[in-house]
């Protein structure tokens, strides 16, 4: 029983953490949180099921196409919902524009794909049992993303340019960094990560249009608790969230588990609005 709670909790936690990282990658490039983060996760599952199960493509091709779908939505988010409202960041119009885009994608999926949850194909032809692929796939994806981002940020020029933009956009622009193009690339990257989360977690979450708002909420919890833009914080908080949710699920049952998660989220946020890892106060006057 404990083994099942731990493996399910960690796997779900990895999916939440990946969505959290999706939020973070977008945030670092633009100081904007986007409602499309969870939608990307939903899309990863639906596209994977569409390409592999329905259209019968090989797993590798389906995987790449699902990621490509995520990249596309990432870029569209940047062009349609983020870039036009960046000028007036203080009016928080991005909350509405990204919400509108997320709803459009969700409704489109609901109509074209259907409103019931469909199964996601098994990716590797190995027998079910014990520590199954549905558990280790999200963990593998999460580890790969963390290592990949770490290598990108520390050891490549473009990665350092990302960090420079995240640190101080104006200074980066003054240094001649192509801020707009880097922002676009960040959103494309975030799109791929979000789609990967949904693809790797497809077997657990199924290919379901309603996963969007669910992932948008649960994926934001690690961001809020781990600190904005802090990927390591997001992973730790995501894993804790997954374990907490599964434990509560086992102890008090499904509904009250979500009530418990929500309550803890609110209480922690009210006690520490800047997240457990903390962040500096903004100058207002």
């Amino acid at each position: 029983m404990v083994a099942s709670i731990v493996s399910t909790g960690l796997a779900i936690g990895c999916i939440y953490a990946l969505i959290g990282i999706t939020y973070n990658v977008m945030f670092s490039a633009s100081r904007v949180f986007s409602f499309t983060a969870g939608t990307l996760g939903m899309l990863g599952g639906v596209l994977g099921s569409l390409f592999i199960a329905r259209l019968g493509m090989p797993v590798e091709i389906g995987f790449l196409l699902a990621l490509a779908g995520g990249v596309l939505l990432g870029i569209v988010t940047e062009i349609v919902a983020v870039r036009p409202v960046l000028k007036s960041l203080d009016q928080h119009l991005y909350v509405l524009s990204t919400l509108a885009l997320a709803l459009m994608v969700q409704q489109f999926t609901a109509i074209e794909w259907g409103t019931e949850a469909r199964p996601f194909p098994r990716l590797f032809d190995i027998a079910r049992g014990g520590f199954d692929q549905q558990f280790w796939l999200p963990m593998l994806a999460c580890a790969a993303v963390i290592v990949g981002l770490e290598l990108l940020y520390r050891h490549t020029l473009i990665g350092r340019a990302f960090l420079a933009i995240a640190e101080d956009t104006y200074a980066a622009r003054a240094l001649g960094l192509p801020e707009r193009r880097l922002r676009m690339v960040s959103y494309a990257l975030a799109g791929a990560i979000g789609a990967l989360a949904g693809f790797a977690g497809g077997e657990m979450l199924l290919a379901f249009f309603g996963n969007g708002p669910m992932l948008t909420f649960y994926g934001f919890v690690p961001v809020a608790l781990g600190g904005m833009g802090n990927n390591r914080g997001a992973v730790v908080a995501g894993l804790l969230l997954g374990l907490f949710q599964q434990t509560a699920n086992f102890l008090v049952g499904g509904i009250f588990a979500s009530v418990a998660v929500f309550t803890v989220f609110i209480i922690v946020l009210l006690a520490r609005p800047e997240g457990l890892a903390g962040a500096a106060l903004q100058r207002r006057v």
């Binding site: 909350v95 509405l96 459009m104 049952g253």
Partner: protein, 601 residues
């Protein structure tokens, strides 16, 4: 103070005001007549649509105060509709309690809704926009899950029958009139709030939160009241919704509905009642004209939301705002009438003082102010000059409570001022202006100035809601005082104009008028002459002198050395956070170090 102010109010403004009131009420009256007469020409099915529009508006009217006025992005408000629907239905069905009358059940639902509205809304006090939006989204998800899983009470996926209201509201048109009546009452109540100091304070929190704090607006109490009200009407709408549907399951309360409510407000436009009302009617009726598009309706709403955010942030309300399309006269001048200040400012009898003693504040390793002494006396102008980064604005921010000093004290008439607690400063009659004017752009100049007098209103939120006599007295008094303040700074002709149409210099004088509404004992001016023409600066100088003569102590932070030397009684020169020199203008002008460091040889 009850001398008639009519002589300072130019006749034209009166006329504008009168037609303005009628013009504002006319569309509502038209809708009222159409609504009452509706059964005469609406068929059976259209009756259901009309009833639904009324039910939605009951909810949207309350949500409008949260979203359109206070600017809090509450996207999960459907949760309160769900809560109200289930509470009413379950209480009337009598599965858990004895069967209750629908009216009593509706009242209990309103109470439950108010409490939950407060619980959902409270995080808005600490969390910023996106966090709050996500919180309401999470709440909506969870309420649906609970409705689905708590089978013994809610019937789970099978659902529960909605309440049926007794005669005469059991027929289709009877129920329609019941909902229509409630919708009309909600319109009236929220319009009252919109036109009260509470409505103005909400827009100030939305667009100029820092200025709202400086005016003494207590955000927790105000938002708390709004969330209680909004939750209550949302739950009432839920009870009506359940009765209209006649049977409810969790499926009926999707996030799509939340989106509809939310978008109705944004299409309508912020800080408007009529706009969101038209938006609600439009969004309820529109799908009926395009039957094949029903499946796509939420998709289209989302497209609409995107278009509005990107292309028309003002919504319907701005389209209908013909008054503010007329060009303003060009070459208009600000001509203050300082002689009116005597009536506006009641001179404090005591010769009080605002004192800083050895105040120090460092940001990291930078000593912004470092052991500063300063004394501002009633009726005198104290100039604070120094190069950029010498700590002038920081000093002002410590006095007005935006920064906490790390050592030293600020004393008002001998008593030490509490650290931070900026909204308490207004109650101590300390007013301020800002380097960049903080103004509610979508409100009129008059409304912006009236925001300054928020704490002097006597009536409660409920009194304003119901437009009781004390509310009306408050409004008359605030309006007259604001007109007087505007006349004193020379802007009374611009009173009805949207503030975002003003020139920079006019905004600076608007801020001074708003600060004067507090009848300040001490007025802190942060670079009021920046961006003004030479002529405007001399008028500003005369105005500031008159303000001091009326008994107010003024702290003037400025870069224009001429202005400082012309009008100040005392001058303090700062350099790197320390007193470089202090004394009369004549002493400063001949101070060797000051001349070297700042004024130039």
């Amino acid at each position: 103070m009850d001398t008639p102010m009519a002589n300072v109010r130019p006749g034209r403004a009166d006329v504008l005001g009168a037609t303005g009131t009628l013009g504002v009420a006319l569309p509502f009256l038209a809708l009222l007549v159409i609504g009452i007469a509706f059964p005469l020409f609406g068929g059976g099915y259209w009756g259901v649509i009309a009833t639904r529009a009324c039910v939605y508006w009951v909810l949207v009217s309350g949500l409008n105060l949260v979203v359109g006025f206070a600017g809090q992005i509450a996207i999960g408000w459907v949760a309160l509709l769900t809560l109200g629907a289930y509470t009413t239905s379950v209480l009337v069905a009598g599965t858990v309690t004895p069967e209750l009358s629908p009216y009593l059940a509706l009242a209990i639902a309103a109470l439950v809704g108010a409490i939950f509205g407060l619980i959902v809304g409270l995080p808005a006090l600490r969390l910023r926009t996106f966090y709050f939006a996500i919180t309401t989204l999470g709440f909506a998800t969870i309420v649906t899950q609970v409705a689905l899983a708590w089978q013994s009470v809610t019937g789970g996926g099978v659902g529960v029958a909605g309440p049926i209201f007794p005669k005469p509201f059991d027929s289709q048109w009877g129920f329609y009139y019941f909902c229509f009546g409630l919708a009309a009452i909600c319109t009236w109540m929220t319009a009252n709030i919109a036109a009260s100091r509470f409505g103005r304070a909400l827009t100030a929190i939305r667009d100029a939160e820092v200025a709202a704090e400086a005016c003494g607006i207590a955000k927790p109490a105000l938002l708390g009241a709004v969330f209680l009200f909004s939750g209550a009407v949302a739950a009432i709408a839920g009870g009506l919704f359940a009765s209209l549907q006649s049977y409810i399951t969790p499926d009926a309360f999707t996030l799509d509905l939340s989106v509809l409510f939310f978008i109705a407000i944004l299409i309508g436009g912020r800080s408007s009642i009529l706009g969101p009302l038209l938006g609600t009617i439009l969004l309820t009726v529109l799908p009926e004209f395009a039957a094949p598009l029903v499946a796509w309706s939420t998709f289209l709403y989302a497209v609409l939301l995107l278009v509005i955010v990107l292309a028309m942030p003002g919504g319907i309300a701005e389209l209908l705002d013909f008054k503010n399309r007329r060009p303003l006269e060009s070459g208009r001048a600000i001509v203050p009438r300082p002689e009116l200040l005597g009536r506006l400012l009641a001179a404090p009898a005591d010769g009080g003082a605002l004192m800083l003693e050895q105040v120090a504040l460092a940001f990291g390793g930078v000593h912004a102010i470092d052991g500063l002494d300063l004394e501002i006396r009633s009726g005198q102008i104290h100039g604070l000059i120094g190069p950029n980064g010498s700590g002038k604005t920081t000093t002002l921010n410590v006095i007005s409570g935006y920064y906490a000093q790390q050592s030293g004290t600020v004393r008002l008439n001998g008593a030490s001022l509490p650290v931070l607690e900026r909204h308490r400063r207004a109650h101590m009659r300390i007013a301020r202006t800002f380097q960049t004017p903080r103004i509610v752009g979508s409100a009129s100049v008059l409304q912006n100035v009236m925001i300054g007098g928020t704490i002097d209103g006597k009536c409660t939120f409920v009194e304003s809601l119901l437009s009781l006599p004390r509310h009306r007295r408050d409004e008359v008094l605030l309006r007259d005082t604001a007109m007087l303040a505007l006349a004193a700074v020379g802007l009374e002709r611009l009173a009805p104009v949207r503030a975002d149409r003003l020139q920079h210099s006019e905004l600076r004088f608007t801020e001074i008028a708003r600060a004067l509404m507090l009848r300040p004992a001490f007025l802190l001016l942060d670079e009021p002459a920046a961006g003004l023409s030479a002529e405007e600066i001399s008028r500003l100088a005369a105005l500031v002198v008159a303000i001091a003569r009326a008994g107010t102590g003024v702290l003037l932070v400025e870069h224009h050395a001429d202005l400082i030397f012309d009008i100040c009684h005392h001058v303090t020169v700062l350099n790197l956070g320390k007193n470089l020199a202090a004394g009369t203008p004549a002493e400063i002008r001949s101070h060797r170090e000051v001349v070297n460091a700042y004024l130039g040889g």
